[in-house]
């Protein structure tokens, strides 16, 4: 079984937020108002944070895109009381909206702040996008018919694309990639099988001193970064 992972090259990233927008389009994640953004009640499956170091004139700003880290040892899975979030065989951590009771314990427990609570009923008429027909062969909630408020959402590595691609015998990582990887204009993101030494992510991880976020927490994220 593959172990899907992502590599983000911070040297190439320009902080254009194309990944954030592409993710919202692909997964029907609603857009929020500026007020909701300030209050942090808007849903972002992928966010780009700006980190500054130093003071003007000697200052450096780095843009860090942060999807879900899909940890090998995910704290959210450990704390979910309803088995609503679980780690798939291929290492993707997914959220089952139908089981989620909305206790928000996983938001508290996630060290990366990638989990978002759905605070309101979505305005379907505005954000409507025709849903793909439900695929009964995939056990799980995807693609879900409608959004419901009161559950926790997160990045899924676009596993609906991966599952569909595998069925059509396409190569994951080159032909089929998550929406954020596909949309990146700077080609700063790579997706593939971390267990396969020939895959593009394994090669990228080996090029420069790659790192993961908050290594000290022992979560073993599958999203690796290449330094600037």
């Amino acid at each position: 079984m593959a172990r899907w992972g992502m590599v983000i090259d911070l040297d190439k990233c320009t902080g254009c937020q194309a990944c954030t927008v592409a993710c919202k389009e692909e997964n029907n994640v609603p857009y929020g108002s500026p007020r909701e953004n300030r209050q942090r009640t808007e849903i972002y499956w992928n966010k780009v944070i700006a980190v500054s170091r130093g003071e003007y004139p000697s200052v450096n700003i780095e843009m860090i895109p942060m999807p879900c880290m899909h940890c090998d040892n995910p704290p959210c899975v450990q704390v979910c009381p309803a088995k609503a979030t679980f780690i798939r065989e291929d290492g993707i951590v997914v959220q089952n909206f139908r089981r989620c009771i909305g206790c928000k314990y996983c938001i508290v427990a996630c060290p990366y702040g990638v989990r978002n609570f759905n605070y309101k009923e979505q305005a379907e008429e505005k954000y409507h996008r025709p849903d793909p027909p439900p695929d009964r062969s995939v056990i799980g909630p995807w693609p879900f018919p409608t959004r419901t408020h009161g559950v926790v959402e997160k990045c899924t590595f676009c596993f609906h694309r991966i599952d569909a691609g595998l069925k059509e015998n396409k190569t994951i990582g080159t032909e089929v990639v998550p929406a954020c990887v596909e949309s990146c204009p700077a080609k700063a993101r790579f997706f593939g099988d971390l267990d396969d030494p020939e895959s593009i992510v394994s090669q990228q991880v080996a090029t420069r001193g790659s790192f993961t976020l908050k290594e000290g927490k022992g979560t073993h994220p599958k999203v690796h970064y290449l330094p600037k």
Partner: protein, 408 residues
């Protein structure tokens, strides 16, 4: 012992007024809950930075009060201290009402409250590594055990009540330590992650439970025209003093260990940031300094009035301890990457006081007060009136009518 305890008559004006007022408040809470269910948690003040709001504050507070109150009932039923018998039944009754309120608070804080039952599918649909699921067992078991305990006490089974008392007390200790573990085991939040949290919660439970028991006892006895045993209250106040000191030691140790850690920004924010006044004034001031000053004062600690002041101060102070833990405790932003995170992800979270959330919280408290009043009316939980016991019942209607002035 069957004739020792009585119900209140519940025919006085004050009693009816109190029932009606609390009923209306509970109804308002229900409406707020319905609104939040329909429109989502945008009506609450929580956000992705501060995920938990007032209902969770209330939940852990009520669990603490309940566990503390139940543990104190054991003084009579397990250790056989007869001087506390007059309030022992009320302690158990209070514990049941409060744990019920805590479970309601948790249920209304869920995003999908209709899936509440999923928390009680032990081992089948539950992930048992989650502290929430383990606490589901603890809370559910606690509720059942305290109901059985109350039933046995009301039936005056002495041996059985001793046995159930031991079980209930052990379970109550577990319940509150489990609640502390919800916070203490979260490694992602520096201010919460601590092995001391369960013990800190337990000591807070004992202190606040005892303080609330003193307040409720005095209020109920006074308003229902019963005499107050000064010696009993004074010895309860002595005990309260001990629990507050224990709580204070654990708070200090908890903060100190976090200050010695390499990652101590969050704790410094908690102690000196914009919410620090809640800690220093409301938590330390009201829950520790003021009551200790009163209870160690040679004269003040003998008067009922000042003991009441100290107890009320502890009850309020420990509420703010919980508030401070849940809301400012999660406000400090997480450090995803070394450096200063710009924008909303690096900003300290804001918590808005929202009307629906406050109405809901008040409604839950009013519902509990209502349940307690109704329970006093229908269950024999109060000690008898001393002046009535030697006289035949139908002596004179006028004094008994004035004496049935009840809680308000």
């Amino acid at each position: 012992m069957a004739s020792d305890f009585v119900t209140i008559e519940g025919k006085s004006k004050n009693y009816r007024a109190a029932v009606i007022v609390f009923g209306i408040l509970a109804l308002i809470g229900l409406i707020c809950f319905a609104l939040s269910y329909v429109f989502g948690h945008q009506l609450f003040g929580s956000s992705n930075t501060i995920p938990w709001g007032m209902p969770i504050v209330l939940a852990i507070y009520l669990i603490g009060l309940s566990a503390g109150s139940l543990i104190l009932s054991s003084l009579t039923y397990v250790f056989g201290k007869e001087e506390f018998r007059p309030i022992a039944r009320m302690a158990v009754l209070l514990a049941i009402v409060l744990i019920f309120g805590a479970m309601i608070s948790i249920a209304v804080d869920l995003g999908r409250p209709e899936k509440f039952w999923r928390l009680f599918m032990f081992f089948y649909l539950n992930n048992m590594t989650s502290m929430f699921a383990i606490n589901g067992i603890l809370y559910g078991g606690y509720f059942v055990i305290s109901l059985v305990y109350m039933g046995i006490i009301l039936a005056n089974q002495k041996q059985a009540s001793r046995f159930m008392g031991i079980l209930a007390v052990c379970w109550a200790v577990l319940v509150h330590m489990g609640t502390g573990a919800i916070f203490g085991f979260v490694a992602a939040r520096e201010t919460w992650f601590s092995p001391i949290k369960p013990l800190e919660f337990l000591s807070a439970a004992l202190a606040s439970g005892l303080a609330l028991l003193i307040v409720v006892t005095l209020l109920t006895l006074k308003l229902s025209g019963r005499s107050i045993n000064k010696g009993m209250i004074a010895s309860l106040a002595n005990m309260l003093r001990m629990f507050i000191i224990l709580l204070f030691i654990l708070i200090v140790v908890d903060k100190l260990t976090h200050l010695y850690e390499p990652a101590r920004d969050a704790t410094i924010f908690m102690l000196a940031g914009e919410y620090a006044w809640i800690f220093w004034v409301l938590q330390i001031g009201l829950a520790v300094v003021l009551p200790l000053a009163i209870l160690f004062h040679a004269k003040l600690n003998k008067t009922i009035k000042w003991i009441t002041v100290a107890s009320v101060s502890v009850v309020i102070g420990i509420f703010f301890e919980r508030y401070y833990l849940v809301i400012p405790g999660s406000a400090y932003p997480l450090h995803f990457y070394p450096g200063k995170i710009e924008g909303v992800y690096g900003a300290v979270g804001t918590f808005q006081i929202m009307p629906a959330e406050m109405g809901l919280s008040l409604g839950i408290l009013a519902l509990l007060a209502l349940l307690f009043l109704l329970a006093l009316r229908y269950l024999e939980a109060l000690p008898p009136k001393p002046m009535e016991s030697p006289q035949p019942t139908a002596a004179s209607p006028a004094p008994s009518a004035s004496a049935t002035q009840t809680t308000g």
